[in-house]
């Protein structure tokens, strides 16, 4: 099976600190459930964002779980070069602007005009408009807060955080299914941006 794996800079496992060799098979340290080689299907990618994205070949029994797959062996097959610092920054902006779009919908549902917010192009502009909104309450207030926070996090370069905020905002507006729906939009964004 061919899947994907996010790693920290230098092919480093974000939770184990293990430095992955290139193009060499790596065996799981034990056969215990959870101790295998973890990787992503395209739909899983938004949950595990990091600096490097690699294609990984998996072997042995592959167990598919909700947000990842686990195999007994894995081999980094090649780096996805299109996932770079610029893609990471663009993904952060995508998250923040999605949170903004959801806030615009919530404000519209509440009968509050938000043309300037819908038209805002940059994160700075979006944040300024959000900060100048009249006093809000209930869901519109919550949605505006998510959008503002997502802008702040994206401006801070925290792509995983900004996009997570968008997924939480989607739950606030759409209910429990909103989270998976937003993560799905994000995985499609990554796939298109990186040509996966």
């Amino acid at each position: 099976m061919i899947a994907y794996k996010f790693l920290a800079a230098g092919r480093t496992g974000p939770f184990t600190g293990y430095v992955w060799p290139e193009r060499q098979w790596v065996d799981a340290p034990s056969s215990r459930e959870g101790a295998g080689v973890h990787a992503c299907r395209i739909a899983d990618l938004p949950f595990w964002i990091d600096h490097e994205l690699w294609q990984i070949e998996l072997a042995g029994p592959v167990v598919e779980r909700e947000t990842q797959v686990e195999a007994r062996r894995g081999r980094l097959a090649g780096r996805v070069g299109s996932w770079d610092a610029r893609a990471l920054a663009e993904f952060a902006v995508h998250g923040a602007l999605r949170a903004r779009d959801l806030a615009v919908l919530a404000l519209g549902d509440a009968g509050i005009r938000s043309d300037a917010l819908a038209r805002a192009v940059t994160l700075q502009e979006t944040r300024v408009v959000l900060e100048s909104l009249p006093a809000l309450s209930g869901v519109p207030a919550e949605m505006a807060a998510y959008a503002r926070e997502a802008c702040t996090r994206a401006l801070d370069g925290a792509a995983a955080s900004a996009t997570h905020m968008a997924a939480v905002a989607a739950v606030a507006l759409l209910g429990p299914t909103g989270f998976a729906a937003e993560r799905s939009i994000q995985s499609r964004w990554i796939a298109e941006r990186c040509g996966l």
Binding site: P14, G34, F47, T67, A145, A160, S161, F179
Partner: protein, 83 residues
Amino acid sequence: MTRRVPEELTCAEMVRLVTDFLEDALSLEDRTHFEQHLVFCKGCAAYVRQMRKTIEASSALKGEGLSAEAQAELLRLFKGTCK
């Protein structure tokens, strides 16, 4: 803000679970949620890094570098905290 995604861990829950995470004692489900939280929460990621460093530093201390007086004083103080 309310807790919108019930299956996700809060930062307070992360603090409670960090020792189990570092000792690899979490269930697979909890560990997955723990690691996902680390991806999007810079504060908890920094906290876990710090905890890991502290554990590494303290496990490197073997006590041979301490004088007999210092060891006795530390033992006395330690016993004092366990009353």
